[in-house]
């Protein structure tokens, strides 16, 4: 049995047969490489476990409590910074409005009231115009055309509904 075979067995930490064991015993006195491997392997097989100093679990509990405290502090200051930044940004955005409101409150009030009145009157006019158009259109279009148009619209609606359902079914994960 040659050096390479024995060395490979030792490096793979394989179980030796009795014949291989005999060959190893004969080989070792003449081979410092294999002797070192055997000694190192033997030393590794008789190692001892290192133990921490007493009170390890207590130190861990203290450390965990410290970490939790630090995390709470981080959350608090993070929230505070977020709130202050948000408030600051809002103030900055509203600053022109606030300045105007503070310098002439009556002007601001008048502008707001006129804006609301204008919006309401626009909505009212638009709805009146819509009613008129509807009344006129119903006089011009015959009931058959209405019925045909409504049927067409309902068929189109059903088609869209079934197509979208198919698409949804295909996209669902397996």
């Amino acid at each position: 049995m040659d050096h390479q075979h024995i060395e490979k067995k030792l490096l793979n930490d394989e179980q030796l047969t009795p014949e291989e064991n005999r060959a190893l015993r004969n080989h070792l006195p003449n081979c410092p490489i294999c002797s070192a491997l055997v000694e190192a392997n033997l030393a590794l097989k008789h190692v001892t476990m290192a133990a921490p100093a007493p009170g390890f679990a207590n130190r861990f509990t203290t450390r965990l409590a410290g970490q939790r405290k630090a995390q709470k502090r981080r959350y608090f200051f993070g929230g505070l910074i977020l709130f202050l930044s948000g408030a600051g940004a809002l103030l900055w955005l509203a600053s022109p409005l606030l300045t105007a409101a503070l310098s002439s409150p009556a002007d601001i009030l008048t502008t707001w009231v006129s804006f609301i009145v204008a919006t309401l009157s626009f909505i009212q006019t638009f709805s009146e115009a819509g009613k008129v158009v509807f009344r006129v259109a119903t006089g011009f279009i015959s009931p058959t055309t209405w019925a045909f148009a409504l049927s067409l619209l309902s068929i189109l609606g059903m088609f869209i509904l079934s197509f979208s359902q198919k698409l949804l079914v295909q996209r669902q994960p397996v």
């Binding site: 590794l44 133990a51 679990a57």
Partner: protein, 200 residues
């Protein structure tokens, strides 16, 4: 369901008492792995504590069907590997920069009986042997010999394939053998020259 699983489930549900029980149970293997990886008791203590903290924070991700010690040692091993790669920690050596053996002067006021045990000859020599290996090879050897982990468990712990574990163990044993041989030659030379004067 065994007792350990009950503790783990309780810890997952937020019981600090259950997690403390797990810390008490596994403090020694985790500390040993960190100590063998980093080589200094203080760094090992810090790394072991940090490993348990990481385990605590990620306990909800732990799969109850996996081995808990393997999962825990995996966290510790990765933490130590990262630490060694990032900071290049100073490691304990029996010799100074010029290769002269250091004289160990124990500080009896500062050493716990458990710590003192670490300084026995075999442990220190073994520590120096381990420092000659790369981080992952060292972790593989520690898991194999100190924790009696199988190749599959080492692969799981270090996130590498089983064949990679085999080749790393093979390479690590060769490296250890070479260092062992060099140390033996140095020692036998020292025995022949007790006062360091060469015999011309």
């Amino acid at each position: 369901m065994d007792e350990e699983k009950t503790w783990i489930i309780q810890a997952q549900q937020g019981s600090d008492e259950a997690f403390t029980y797990l810390v008490e149970t596994y403090q020694r293997p985790v500390y040993n792995l960190c100590y063998r990886m980093l080589g200094v008791a203080d760094y090992a203590e810090d790394a072991a504590q940090e490993s348990f903290l990481r385990a605590y924070k990620n306990l909800h991700r732990y799969d109850i069907n996996r081995s808990f010690p393997t999962w825990l040692l995996s966290i510790a091993a990765h933490y130590c590997i990262d630490k060694l790669r990032r900071k290049k920690l100073p490691t304990f050596s029996l010799h100074d920069d010029e290769g002269t053996p250091r004289e160990y002067i124990p500080d009896t006021s500062a050493i716990h009986p458990e710590k003192a045990l670490l300084y026995n000859d075999q442990s220190a020599e073994m520590q120096e042997l381990l420092q000659s290996l790369s981080e992952i090879d060292r972790a593989a050897i520690i898991l194999r010999y100190w924790h009696e982990a199988s190749e599959v468990e080492i692969a799981e712990s270090l996130n590498i394939s089983v064949s990679a574990v085999k080749s790393r163990l093979f390479r690590a044993r060769r490296q250890l053998g070479e260092v062992w041989q060099a140390e033996s030659e140095k020692t036998s030379l020292g025995e022949r020259m007790p006062y360091g004067s060469p015999a011309y």
